[in-house]
């Protein structure tokens, strides 16, 4: 069965769901059915600066079973606490016994449905509004597997947890899903990587939900290095409890098309969030990012920083939204976006907006775009450094303040490697 018939006929979609997800609880089956209908009904999302129609996404046969393909290789050998999923199948998982004893649950989402059904039912889809968006509905209906992480109250997990979502070349529809719940006063550090093997065009819809309950702290990192053949839609959303915080560190490098959004909802007093986004566009990549902080409760804070490098014919759109609702007194919301342009054929758009409905706030944004400093390049070349190396150093200098503030050593190293590959490629 392919996507064309699936999209046209809701009955086919229902049949497909029943075949694919046979042994799931009723609530989940109902949920998948509802979202599958939403997926079929919704038109393509209107994105002003990312026309989706001409990409012919409907021609990707996303419901085919994965054909056997060459195995993927990546470097995560050193990760002590980890979960590795390939084509939605759990390949490897480890959590130190001390953490298991404290009640930390590190599971594949499919397994979590059996082991912690109440938590999954309570929180899955509680932060992302999947019904309002075609591709989020797609993930909600067809997610194959993903990460489930639960940290009990007052538990501190200092060891970073590394999660890999990988797709082999045979997988045309890749729908990873993540659910992270940090219970009251807990702490956790988690990093995810998204990989896919180059091959035929694939459609990727990823969803990550983070719930930081009162006083909890989640340090979340993500590095996305999907193949250029991947047409990617990714949504990350977090809900921040009272005096809790979520810190996002996001590196976006792969995918031919990337529509990525992350949103933090601050609807309890004292919630805080920060986000660092690093993006690097090359070749004919089209990257469309949205970063949003929604301040609903008093004394919440957000700080969103993004740095991007654009080369070749790449095109990027960065939309920052600081949305301060009435009653969110004492809010401090800031944004900073900078783009380094390395090619005359690249294009970068930025829309850093502030939507303010409360007086007692401080909100600020700044954005800039510009070329590599010619005088700096000349200076370096005058010292015997070749031009390509000089540009590499300037890119490093530009990204260092953001990348070096990523708290996870392993993620930091991976981001630097990705940057190096991009500079060379």
């Amino acid at each position: 069965m392919n996507s064309v018939t699936a999209q046209k006929n809701p009955a086919d979609v229902r049949h497909l769901l029943e075949q694919r997800f046979r042994d799931e609880p009723l609530w989940l089956a109902a949920r998948r059915r509802e979202l599958a209908e939403a997926y079929v009904e919704h038109p393509l999302p209107p994105r002003q600066r990312t026309p989706l129609k001409n990409r012919k996404l409907e021609q990707i046969p996303i419901f085919d079973a994965p054909a056997s393909a060459a195995p993927l290789t990546w470097r995560d050998a050193g990760d002590e606490a980890h979960l590795r999923l390939v084509d939605g199948v759990e390949e490897s998982r480890h959590l130190p016994a001390t953490l298991t004893e404290q009640g930390v649950l590190l599971l594949s989402l499919a397994e979590a449905i059996r082991i912690a059904p109440q938590l999954v039912e309570q929180y899955l889809g509680s932060v992302i509004d999947e019904r309002s968006d075609k591709f989020q509905a797609l993930n909600g209906a067809f997610w194959q597997n993903g990460l489930f992480l639960y940290v009990p109250p007052r538990t501190e997990v200092t060891l970073p947890i590394a999660v890999t979502h990988a797709a082999t070349a045979g997988l045309a529809g890749f729908f990873p899903r993540t659910l992270i719940i940090a219970d009251r006063q807990s702490r956790v550090v988690v990093s995810e990587r998204y990989l896919s093997a180059p091959g035929e065009r694939s459609l990727v819809s990823a969803a990550t939900e983070i719930i930081a309950l009162d006083g909890a702290s989640v340090q979340y990192g993500s590095i996305q290095q999907l193949a250029p053949s991947a047409e990617t839609f990714s949504r990350r959303a977090g809900r921040v409890g009272r005096d809790a915080r979520i810190d996002w560190n996001i590196g976006e490098f792969g995918g031919g098309l990337l529509v990525a959004e992350h949103q933090t909802i601050l609807d309890q007093p004292g919630g805080q969030t920060s986000s660092l986004t690093v993006f690097f566009g090359g070749h004919h990549q089209h990257q469309d990012y949205t970063a949003e902080s929604r301040h609903v409760a008093p004394h919440t804070g957000s700080n969103m920083v993004a740095r991007g490098v654009m080369k070749d014919h790449a095109r990027s759109v960065f939309t920052g939204v600081t949305d301060i609702k009435p009653g969110a007194v004492g809010t401090d919301g800031r944004q900073k976006e900078q783009t380094l342009m390395l090619s005359p054929h690249a294009r970068a758009d930025a829309i850093p907006s502030l939507l303010i409905e409360e007086r007692d706030v401080y909100a600020a944004h700044s954005a800039s775009a510009g070329p590599a400093d010619r005088s700096a390049i000349f200076y370096l070349m005058g010292r015997g450094i070749p031009e390509t190396e000089a540009i590499r150093l300037i890119v490093h200098g530009f990204l260092a303040p953001v990348i070096d503030s990523i708290p996870l050593q392993s993620l930091r190293d991976e981001v630097w490697e990705a940057v190096e590959r991009k500079i060379r490629g």
Partner: protein, 465 residues
């Protein structure tokens, strides 16, 4: 903190001197309306064709799906043309007494006698009074109303009219193109510089009367000019529409400044298209103050088409009860070494809303172009809101764009400091507000700065007293 309003919701200039219109059309817009306007003005056939074409475009275009709420606007409930007196007043004595009284209260004659080159005072839809000082005439500067310009300078007029903003540009530009009346026409010949501003005063008077003035300014090579317009209008209960089109051509090495202080009554929909093109090493400056109206949508633009061209927008927006100022600036860099600067100051109070909506575009050939945009907003109470939505599009790797924005309240610290020096909280707030908009007021011509300060002072005192 109990902040007092900075500009009161009472409209100071809301007096109204009765309907003096001599010829007034029925409400609503049809082909016949447009044909009648053109016939009364005895226009050449090409202008009638232009108007009728624009009317078709207006009917075809949908309402904008973004920006302020325009739903209450009813195009059938508007009078599209009013001619206040049969002939254009050549001298002050010819101007009807009622109109004179209105100007008297706004302080126009003083300004005209002492400082101004020519007062092109637009009262309702037709320019009723117009004089040009001899020295301007001697320099070859044409400063007249747009209707006269069509009759008297048909060649220059036709060469430039509608070239910068064609009717197809947007729905309201199409409406203006169909029913335009009045406005100013300025032609500054090559190498001519004027040190005195050219000033026009605009007013809407009849209830529900649309005012569709059309301004066309041509600054030839190496010239300099400063055009100034200000607007106040009486209060009326039902909606009123002002939809102007302003086209400016600034040729090589010329410099043009266009200053507006706009204080429409709080029932006016002010939907204006303003655009300038700047050629090689030319400079275009928009100084734009939006204080009144119910809804304003206005984004002065500069198309930087020649190498080394410069564009500037300096603006303030003050929004009070029931008002939405949706304003901004557009800078299109389409040549190398072009530069642009935008400084926007917004104040929201009493539930008013201000939106900064701007665009900076660097085209592929905009090598070494630079742009700096700064937007600051002050929220004076808990009911007021503000959006800042700047768009930037960079297609050139050697262009530099910088953007900064802040949204703040009046700082407690500054208030505390000032009140501890013996100022009342009201005085302190006013001082902070005046300081906030000072970068704008200091760029105004002297008499405008005086009027602006007086307006703010009176209205703040009124609100506090």
């Amino acid at each position: 903190m109990a902040t007092k309003p900075f500009v009161s919701d009472e409209y100071q200039y809301g007096f109204n001197d009765g309907d003096v219109g001599v010829l007034k059309f029925q409400r609503g817009l049809t082909r016949t309306t447009v044909e009648n306007i053109s016939r009364i003005k005895q226009e050449p056939p090409w202008m009638l064709d232009f108007r009728l074409h624009a009317l078709d475009v207006f009917w075809k275009k949908p309402m904008p799906g973004w920006g302020a709420n325009l739903k209450p606007l009813n195009f059938d409930d508007i009078v599209y043309y009013v001619k206040p007196s049969e002939n254009q007043g050549r001298t002050w004595e010819d101007v009807p007494q009622a109109i004179k009284d209105t100007f008297e209260r706004l302080g126009i004659p003083e300004a005209e006698r002492k400082f101004l080159a020519g007062v092109s005072a637009q009262y309702e839809s037709e320019v009723v009074y117009h004089s040009i000082r001899r020295d301007l005439q001697e320099k070859g500067i044409i400063f007249t109303d747009t209707d006269s310009a069509l009759r008297e300078y048909p060649e220059i007029f036709r060469e430039y009219f509608g070239t910068i903003i064609p009717p197809e540009d947007n729905k309201f530009a199409a409406l203006n193109s169909a029913v335009w009346s009045g406005g100013s026409f300025v032609y500054i010949p090559k190498g001519v510089k004027t040190d005195i501003p050219l000033q026009a005063y605009f007013r809407i008077n009849s209830e529900n009367m649309g005012q569709f003035e059309r301004t066309l300014i041509i600054a030839e090579d190496d010239s300099f000019g400063h055009y100034v317009e200000g607007c106040t209008a009486p209060i009326y209960a039902s909606e009123s529409l002002h939809s102007a089109v302003v086209e400016i051509i600034v040729k090589d090495n010329a410099r043009m400044r266009y200053t507006t202080v706009q204080n429409w009554a709080p029932n006016v929909y002010n939907l204006v298209t303003k655009r300038a093109v700047a050629y090689q090493n030319a400079t275009m400056e928009w100084v734009d103050g939006n204080i009144g109206s119910k809804v304003t949508m206005k984004y002065p633009a500069v198309y930087l088409l020649g190498e080394g061209a410069k564009g500037m927008v300096l603006s303030i927006a003050v929004s009070g009860k029931g008002q939405h100022q949706d304003t901004g600036a557009k800078m299109i860099h389409a040549a190398p070494n072009t530069t642009s600067t935008v400084l926007s100051k917004s104040i929201s109070q009493h539930g008013g809303k201000t939106t900064y909506r701007g665009l900076v575009h660097f085209a592929k050939n905009a090598d070494a172009a630079k742009s700096n945009v700064k937007c600051d907003t002050l929220l004076l109470d808990d009911l007021s809101t503000s959006d800042t939505i700047p768009y930037s599009e960079v297609e050139n790797a050697n262009a530099e764009m910088e953007h900064e924005a802040t949204v703040t309240r009046v700082s407690e610290e500054a208030l505390f400091y000032l009140t501890s020096r013996g100022l009342s909280e009201e005085e302190a707030t006013r001082m902070i507000v005046m300081g906030f908009i000072e970068p704008f007021t200091r760029e105004l011509p002297m008499e405008f700065a005086v009027e602006m300060n007086r307006l703010i002072k009176f209205e703040m005192e009124g609100a506090i007293g």
